[in-house]
Symmetry: C5
């Protein structure tokens, strides 16, 4: 029934769980170590953000699922790190799953992470695959009592999280763009240090971002059209803004892909031109000197009877032959426009 | 009228037929050897799963068709192993035909099998082309009296069978993915053991899975939209789950195809770069030494009258010529950035 | 007004015309030599199949057009052998034009033929471009008094003709598939007998079938949706069957096209690899022996004053130079991983 | 406001204007030299065809525009020879602009001409860019008092003009098809006279026709769906006929384009195969004879002390070395399947 | 929340702001240096055009946004120079953002500029990224009291600005077209001065224009369908005109792209043909003379015992060998059609 059935039953690490309770005048942060702690906060008259890092401990996730009435198949989608981004509406909450792609130190160390977001009337839950995240700015903004995050609904909160995700895509595209320019200089400026592996890895990075952005665009498009009670009119202008960002990202990716394809083609043509030049050089030298060497070889033979050897003007004559042959050859190559 | 008319009338082997009768409290398994046995089980107040392995014996299949009111053209689709996957709704049952693709021992031995599934109010029939199948887990799950398979309708049962089929596609894609990584290492890491035939066979495997998955996705999409009385609301969440799996599979296939194309292109470029290097080496050596050899050849000629031969400083002079020519050549190549 | 205006007015051969009169209890066959004979059969209380072979004799075709109220533009479509397949509904009949593509002796002699089918309430007319056809099985089945062809309507009759046409497409695709496998063995198995012309002709055959199948699929799709009074509900299951066949054919064509493209690419890569190997062999031999030959050439010079020539150990010394140079070169090539 | 503002104000030539007045019993032809003459013919109870050749004289065109109430932007479209083909409906007339592409002497001299057609209740106006046209057959048919052109409406008249235009596209495609066959013979039959420029020009011609045909197809599709009062039911069967022609043309273009692409690919592969053959020949000869020449060179050295020179059987021995080396090499190449 | 957060807080230059007040009888121009000046003009009974050049000074832009009730996200779109062109309708105004692409001195110095246009009931605001613009013609036309710009609504005014923008795209496409022809001559006419970088930069320019034109076309399409109260029926014919221009531009871009692709392919084939020729020349010369040189080398050996050296006719005999070998080789190459 599941693509993910983990048959081995090791003890899995408990996920790191932060729980924020917040209202216009309140902000509390709690570290949760056991799922039984969660229930006590739900009943309070505040909004709740539960951030869960780590998807390996199935029983704990199942407990959370029970608390918030999450369907087993939805839980499967939360745990399945290969799950395609999607948005699903339920009575109790809206479910979104997407990919965080970000880097802490440049293109060498890209982190791809499967995240899931659920927002109900009074709660937001975020499930993350790995401990690090890009939500620190959120935590800071949450502390501002007059900020929209505290005042507006859970849909706006979720929008803010998604916005963070999309911002990271932009940063990666910018990094790739910079690398592309290095590549461009390398190929157009005839720098010799082009590494084919780089081109390949570039393309793969583009593919990865595109693979995550396409369905994200669909998600936002679905959100825009949704009439779910938890999705409010007021947020639609913000959602439209990140929707447009995804469109821009996809167009940038397409352009960068075309650019790389074009560069590789230029590079291939460049190699062909160089090869032609090399071969012409070889051919000109070889076709001139190989016959001359043969002629010299003839008169290096030691036959007893070779009348030319005795003649007085043989040597100057042979030089005349050498020179006229060379001139004729050069004229032929010139006429053929080989140089 | 049929693509399949088998004119030769050999005696075909009787298909292997298992029949399960099951209800919430009952589970019986019967081996059927003659179609006449089937009728006695239909009338019983249980659900029935008839699993038929082998499509060659036309008369027996026609008997079954008669028992369950299967139209001759539908029977043709069951027997035609080239039939494209599809879903067709009839009054008595829903008809689905698809492809099982699985392997028992790796990518070397992929088994592709044409299967057809029919589910009516109280029965499920599965027709298989070959004896082996991937339904053993089903047989086990059926023994669990409190399992959904026993409790829910025939549509859920059929879903379970299709889910098994799709799970196998995932496994194959994973296997291909692993092979792709080997290929990637081979090309990017400049391992010399790349076999072109492997690339070709990879691509073919991708094509085969895609060919079966595209229409399967259409089938599931049709199922989702169907309002046939045997297709219940309750199953739709499960169907949506495998529908999403097919979308994921198709995207994975597309990505893997792009990856292979990209790798082949990188490989071609790599070959061109290497060729350039080889030719440059040859050309540098040849254009330096061929003229020098010619000069040496000149003074190897045996003409009686060759004044230079008699001169005292001819030999050191010729060495000066050798060396300056070589230096000039190397300078020329350096300026042309050949090394 | 017409693409087809034949300005030269030679006497064109009279087309071969067969006329069948049939009912549940009747079957008469008549050879028609003049169009005036047709009218007498129309009024009879039987269904009528008129099969016309040969489109060159314009006056006779115009006579037939007059008898059956065929519009001049429709007649033009019947005569225009470049006409794209289509279905058009008129009050008196449904008009279908398509391409027969078949072979009597393998891929070497493919016959492409423009055919048009009209079916009204009581008549079917088939116009063929060339004498041979693939309808002999029809003629046989017509003799069976209890067959569907005799009992069902003119739409079923027309379906049967189209089914024959589509069956021939399958046969051609199978033939091409077999050839593709030969090609595959040739390229993957490194057989040297690949003929480029074959690849080209393969592709052209695929194109031709696709060109005819695409609009045929549209025709059948139009038929399925049609509510013309002569198109009966009962036939729709049959039409759907050949509709699916055309989908299958188009998918097969697409796959075969991809296969050929993939094979050509593999072949190109293969040639590049081989070229690289050849060039490396040449370069290794040449870069080792050309400098050695030069050294030998030096001591083949006949200068009077060449001190080395007189030295006692010159000859073994020169051998040491030869051998160390060779070893150095081989080491260099080894390090460059040229072999 | 206009892409076309011609700032220099030279005196532009007056366009050539023919005016036909016609009814079922009337046909008058007038040559117009000043726009003031037109008004007198409009009021007469006949249909009017005004054919204007030459778009450079802006004032005269503006006069005509005033007479027939043509909007400045529409006049701009008439004058803009880069205008994309389109159909626009106005209250007073239907406006169509398209491209005439024809040749008087083969593919070398293709004439592309921007034409505009307007048809109102009682008038047809055709604007042409250049003097020559393809409407002579129209002028002849107009003289036939019982012809449809005289009897049917202005929409039929316009259809006839468009039909002429489309017929010329067919002729060009046929010409290109013939050239393609020459190219095919050249590449498949290994004729050496392939001119790359030809391939390029072929492609360009295909592009040009496609560029004009795509929007023409849209025009005809719009006409088919139009309910403008000047577009009558009766003409729709004719419009459908040329609509189908444009579909056929576009499919032919696509096929010819694929054919050329396929041919170029075959040609590239062919060049690679030949290159391989050439290089193998060189490598075999060079790797056999270069080492042998070196060996001969050794014993051509003039060292005083070279014991082998004195030995009695040195010479036959060296021949044995020559021959065994050669045989070994040939065996190696044979094993590598180089010939 | 924004892709554009500029963290460094330098003092940014005040944008250059022109303000035009105009009515049928009025035209006033004011240079604005502080946003507080704007309010006094809004209340006057004239239409107002505010042209703002420079997007770096955030506070001033925020002031303007406040005055005209521009939403923060819209202001973000105005400032974000990477913003994709779009049209958005608000109650107070219609918002359009697009790209100006123009050149003052040829393709070497293309200026791409992000502009935003807002038009309300009585005002038009244009935000520009850089000081130079292409609106001088507008300023002139505005001085004409009977011109449409003074009489018609703000939508017509905005149309005029967009029309200017699109006209510049045409000019660039023409420039690229001219360069393409130079490239074409270079490749088809075998001029040797093809710079690969040029091809690459061409393609990039095409991409840039396409990237801006695609969404502009969408904008105009949205405008055409809009029923916003500030968008009047009367302007629709003008909007349709520039809509058609964008379609033409996109088709031109597509054609030019295909042309470049086709040229690069031709060029690659051309290089292959030349390479083949070069290699054939080398191979013919080398395979003829290398064996001959070996033969000459044999008889240059200094073995004491070499009977042939003593024979009387050895020398003429060896010439016969030389000549017959050469002829045989040439015959072989001729037969292989190498020349
Ligand atoms: Mg599954
Ligand atoms: Mg699942
Ligand atoms: Mg994380
Ligand atoms: Mg953002
Ligand atoms: Mg995708
Ligand atoms: Mg997708
Ligand atoms: Mg925005
Ligand atoms: Mg695009
Ligand atoms: Mg069938
Ligand atoms: Mg059939
Ligand atoms: Mg099986
Ligand atoms: Mg498909
Ligand atoms: Mg799932
Ligand atoms: Mg025509
Ligand atoms: Mg016609
Ligand atoms: Mg025939
Ligand atoms: Mg097609
Ligand atoms: Mg089509
Ligand atoms: Mg079927
Ligand atoms: Mg497909
Ligand atoms: Mg305009
Ligand atoms: Mg003309
Ligand atoms: Mg178009
Ligand atoms: Mg027609
Ligand atoms: Mg197309
Ligand atoms: Mg934003
Ligand atoms: Mg500016
Ligand atoms: Mg304009
Ligand atoms: Mg786009
Ligand atoms: Mg216009
Ligand atoms: Mg196009």
């Amino acid at each position: 029934m599941s693509v993910l059935n983990n048959t081995d039953e090791q003890i899995k690490p408990v996920p790191v769980m932060e729980l924020y309770l917040f209202g216009e005048n309140t902000l509390e942060k709690h570290h949760i170590t056991s799922t039984s702690q969660i229930s006590q906060y739900i009943t309070q008259p505040y909004k709740l953000w539960l951030n869960v890092c780590g998807l390996d401990n199935a029983p704990i996730l199942q407990d959370i699922a029970k608390i918030f009435s999450i369907h087993p198949l939805t839980l499967e989608d939360i745990q399945n790190t290969n799950q395609r981004p999607k948005l699903e509406e339920f009575d109790e909450f809206v479910f979104i799953t997407a990919k965080m792609i970000f880097t802490k130190s440049g293109l060498e160390e890209i982190i791809t992470e499967h995240i899931s977001l659920l927002f109900g009337h009074h709660f937001i839950i975020s499930f993350q695959e790995k401990p690090d995240d890009i939500f620190d700015a959120i935590r800071v903004r949450l502390e501002n009592p007059s900020g929209k995050m505290r005042k507006l609904g859970t849909d706006y909160f979720t929008y803010t999280l998604l916005d963070m995700v999309v911002d990271q895509y932009y940063k990666l595209i910018e990094l790739i763009g910079e690398r592309n320019e290095v590549l461009e200089d390398g190929i157009i400026g005839d720098n010799k240090n082009i590494k084919l592996a780089d081109i390949y890895l570039h393309r793969k990075a583009l593919q990865d971002i595109r693979k995550s952005t396409w369905p994200l665009r669909e998600i936002l498009s679905a959100w825009k059209k949704s009439d779910h009670p938890f999705i409010k009119k007021k947020t639609s202008v913000f959602i439209n803004d990140i929707y447009e960002h995804t469109v821009e990202i996809l167009e940038s990716l397409e352009l960068q892909r075309e650019t790389i394809t074009s560069l590789v083609e230029i590079y291939m043509t460049h190699l062909s031109i160089k090869q032609n030049e090399v071969m012409k050089t070889l051919t000109i030298i070889a076709t001139i000197f190989i016959p001359l060497t043969f002629i010299a070889g003839i008169y290096g033979m030691n036959f007893k009877v070779m009348p030319e050897l005795e003649w007085k003007y043989s040597y100057p004559l042979i030089w005349i032959i050498f020179i006229t042959t060379t001139i004729a050859m050069l004229y032929y190559f010139k006429k053929k426009r080989w140089f």
